[in-house]
């Protein structure tokens, strides 16, 4: 696959030397469509969309997936460098430009970073890309030396012919290798011979993050740029009525007041002027039909919907018959709306002229951003340039193009000068796409201490139907039921159902942990209640039903051992376990927590045993589990967006609380060595957190909470759970 190398050339970009990371060159945030300048080393060996090598021996690796903290740039570089036998300390990294053809995520068919699948989806394509390029370089050297390619070897960006001691750097082979045809099926390395993959490599993106040098989308500065901030109608779907801007216009630094049908923006010389200007506007909103929507109504609707039969997504054995036998238990578990609250508030910088549009932002969906901007502006696709950036937190929020479209609509009212639109935290939280409310209901029957029938119904919004319509088949949201259908336990009779129930007015979207968040929570809470009914220890009860999932059983054993499962704890302290196969990783988690007489919870310790197959960068896997656990525990302890009069009631971190360092537990992550293909890890810690916490509180108090966030009054015994 020959690529237009001009579109990706590095010339006009300053290559930033990453202090402390050897000589890894980072070309982040700089224009990706720069024309090649005179004097740049030419030609370039570009055997595929991911690799470019020039005659100066510079190896540039193009990152198909976006870096938002999950360490993917380092992991992708490691996979490519491993099979390419490139010197990992000398590679340059570059953001991919928008292109579904070249950089589409194999799972989704479009260019998207999400679902914890970057390593899983790109594992084989990247290995092939690296191995194919390596084979061509080796062949080029062998031809030059007139020897058998099999007698040559490659390492550290050079080919060696050991018998004669000859060595050629990749840069010297660029011309010859470019003339060769890539092998149809490149020979991949035996994982036993990996020298890069599996090493705890230092991340490439972090050195510039300790000194303020890194440029996120929100940090973009352009000559003549104006700063803007926006206000949308506080009621979902409402419109602007009347705007009195007389006071705002008096504020020094305010430039322009932009009034559109559904939002108002103020531009200024800096964010403070824009914000003060916006605050000084007297806006009357037409609230529209949603002015009475409330959480109470949404929950009543959801509970009613969950009584209906759902579309059957999976059925095995005879559930109806066996649910009627043995000891039966029926429970329901409920999860609230959640905002993403990425640390970097939503933002986008736009320069729009008559015949082009440039976008600077951080997005998880490069090509979709480009496409929707082209649609909005009527410009041809190739006149829309998207400069992606390192992202200050995605968590699914940046799977949406709304911030970009809003910024472009503001820019349409300006005169072609660049404008940076930054959301206040209040707007960011009150105009999110929210993790939907879900209600998962489960019925099961026990025989001889094991589950013999299991009926599981998920009721909630079908995010996938909006976000990826072709994937919404037969009325089933494959994400919402993912963790339910993929159940790890040996259960002879089971049925999984889905009921679509869209909340009125409130937009819903993907949120870190996605469907498995509700599935793992409901399943693992319910399993603890079944264990109690069966009179069994929660670990032993699970262990006896994991015959078909030995990797999970091994993780459970390790977590039990490392957490001191079964050892005595003080009064009102407890351990809770949960297990999962979500995202293709096998994880068992034990949370140890205590509850005071007011129902306040203190997290004592978390132990996780993780089998994610081959851990490309083991330290990154550990970091993702640690961070994911904190993210999930935050939601379990505090996270809830509520709606009153059609508005989100929370607005900033004082009422949408985050776990802080003084509340964070000790976290011990134990990786299990494995030669299996890599699993996903970015979201797995989130889904691992909430049921294990809840089960710890169940053990500590005997109170079976069945909603999140946790109810402190119920834990204090002041009301029923």
């Amino acid at each position: 696959m020959q690529r237009d190398s001009a579109s990706l050339d590095v010339t006009r970009r300053k290559l930033l030397q990453a202090a402390g990371a050897g000589s890894v060159l980072l070309a982040f945030h700089l224009p990706l469509r720069a024309a090649p300048a005179a004097g740049e080393a030419k030609p370039t060996f570009a055997p595929n969309a991911f690799i470019r090598i020039d005659e100066s021996n510079k190896v540039t690796l193009v990152m198909p997936q976006v870096e938002m903290g999950q360490g993917i740039y380092t992991s992708v570089a490691m996979i490519l460098a491993e099979e390419l036998d490139a010197d990992i300390a000398q590679v340059a990294l570059e953001h991919a430009p928008p292109s579904d053809t070249l950089y589409g995520n194999p799972t989704f068919g479009i260019q998207v970073t999400g679902n914890s699948n970057s390593v899983r989806a790109f594992w084989t394509p990247l290995r092939n890309a690296g191995a194919s390029a390596r084979a061509m370089l080796v062949q080029a050297a062998a031809q030059q030396w007139k020897v058998d390619p099999a007698s040559c070897s490659a390492a550290k960006s050079a080919v060696t012919h050991a018998a004669t001691g000859r060595v050629l750097a990749y840069g010297a082979l660029v011309r010859d290798a470019s003339k060769l045809t890539p092998p149809a099926t490149p020979q991949l390395k035996d994982p036993a011979n990996f020298t890069v993959i599996g090493q705890p490599l230092k991340r490439f993106d972090t050195p510039d993050k300790v000194n303020g040098k890194v440029v996120y989308g929100i940090d973009v500065m352009l000559p003549g740029m104006k700063f803007a901030t926006v206000a949308l109608c506080p009621v979902f779907g409402g419109k602007v009525g009347h705007v009195d801007d007389s006071a705002a216009k008096q504020i020094p630094g305010v430039q322009k007041i932009v009034v559109l049908d559904d939002m108002v923006a103020v531009t200024g010389d800096h964010m403070w002027a824009a914000k003060k200007g916006l605050d000084a506007l007297d806006i009357t909103w037409n609230e529209g039909p949603n002015g009475n929507v409330s959480s109470a109504e949404i929950w009543a609707d959801l509970r009613a919907a969950s009584q209906k039969d759902g579309v059957v997504a999976k059925a095995e054995g005879d559930v109806a018959k066996f649910l009627g036998q043995g000891d039966r238990l029926d429970e329901a578990y409920e999860l609230p709306f959640l905002a993403h609250a990425t640390m970097e508030p939503l933002n986008c910088t736009v320069q729009l002229t008559k015949d082009s549009c440039e976008i600077w932002t951080g997005t998880q969906i490069m090509s979709r951003v480009q496409g929707t901007v082209a649609q909005l502006t009527g410009l041809p696709l190739d006149k829309v340039t998207v400069h992606n950036h390192l992202i200050g937190g995605g968590f699914g929020r940046r799977l949406e193009p709304d911030m970009v479209l809003t910024a472009v609509r503001v820019a349409q009212q300006l005169d072609g000068a660049p404008v940076k639109v930054v959301w206040t935290r209040e707007q960011d939280i009150q105009h999110d796409v929210y993790r939907p409310v879900y209600r998962d209901t489960i019925s099961a029957s026990l025989a001889n201490g094991k589950i013999q029938a299991w009926k599981y119904r998920v009721t909630g919004s079908a995010v996938i139907a909006r976000w990826l319509p072709p994937a919404f088949q037969k009325g089933i949201d494959i994400d919402a039921i993912d963790g339910a259908a993929d159940i790890a336990y040996d259960i002879p009779n089971l049925q999984i159902e889905y009921v679509r129930a869209e909340p009125p007015a409130v937009p819903t979207g993907f949120w870190r942990g996605v469907g498995p968040n509700n599935n793992v929570f409901a399943t693992e809470c319910f399993i603890d209640e079944l264990a109690k009914k069966a009179g069994k220890d929660p670990v032993a009860f699970r262990r006896d039903m994991l015959g078909k999932t030995p990797r999970l059983k091994a993780a459970l054993d390790l977590a039990a051992e490392k957490s001191g499962w079964g050892q005595a704890l003080p009064a009102r302290a407890g351990r809770g376990v949960s297990i999962q196969t979500a995202f293709g990783s096998f994880i068992a988690t034990v949370v140890e927590a205590e509850v005071d007489e007011h129902g306040e919870v203190r997290l004592r310790r978390v132990t996780a045993a993780v089998d994610t197959g081959i851990a490309v960068n083991p330290d990154t896997v550990i970091a993702q589990i640690q961070g994911g656990l904190i993210f999930g525990l935050t939601a379990a302890l505090y996270g809830e967006i509520t709606i009153d009069k059609g508005r989100v009631q929370q607005s900033n971190f004082h009422d949408y609380r985050m776990l802080r360092i003084d509340e964070a537990p000790q976290i011990d992550v134990h990786l299990i060595k494995s030669g299996e293909a890599p699993g996903g890890i970015g979201e797995a810690g989130v889904t691992a957190s909430s049921a294990s916490l809840r089960n710890a509180l169940y053990a500590a108090t005997g109170v079976p909470l069945r909603r999140l966030p946790i109810d402190r009054a119920a834990l204090a015994g002041k009301k029923n759970a």
């Binding site: 903290g69 300790v210 000194n211 010389d269 403070w272 640390m343 904190i630 993210f631 900033n652 360092i661």
Partner: protein, 153 residues
């Protein structure tokens, strides 16, 4: 015209006295290492030092700063505590998305400058104002202890 002493240099700029230092740094002077997270002193992303003390720049009007010395993330590496914190942060690979980390590093550097051997309670007190949405707290705690040990050695 106003003047502030930032990272040892005099910076002249134009902004009304009520403008928070955060926006002067970021939007007027182009020192974008200091981050906006909440605007209401809840997250710590905007932390800078004023005469060595950690301050939330999102609520600090420039008119009241006078000739006190401001240090930002761009300048903290020049201080011994700052340099040791930055090194420990990289050694232990604390950072994920990194957006909160300017503020975390500024808070940690101020802590170590004032309390060379912080215990867990000191760390809690000094760092609880800084939210990390990526959940890097475990490593932040370890890195502060490592930086403290390195400075003692």
């Amino acid at each position: 015209m106003a003047t502030l002493k930032i990272n040892g240099e005099s910076k002249v700029f134009e902004a009304t006295e009520d403008t928070p230092l955060l926006w002067v740094l970021r939007d007027v002077l182009g020192l974008t290492g200091t981050k906006f997270g909440c605007g209401i002193a809840q997250c710590g992303a905007c932390t800078v030092h004023v005469d060595g003390k950690p301050v939330r720049s999102c609520l600090l009007p420039v008119g009241g700063i006078g000739d006190r010395a401001i240090t930002t993330i761009e300048g903290i590496g020049a201080t011994p505590a700052g340099a040791s914190v930055q090194k420990a942060w990289l050694d232990l690979e604390v950072i994920q998305c990194g957006y909160c980390q300017s503020g975390q590093i500024m808070a940690a550097a101020a802590l170590l400058a004032a309390t060379p051997h912080p215990d867990d309670a000191d760390i809690d007190a000094a760092m609880a104002g800084n939210i990390c949405r990526c959940g890097t707290y475990v490593r932040i705690r370890d890195a502060i202890k490592r930086a403290a040990a390195a400075r003692a050695a």
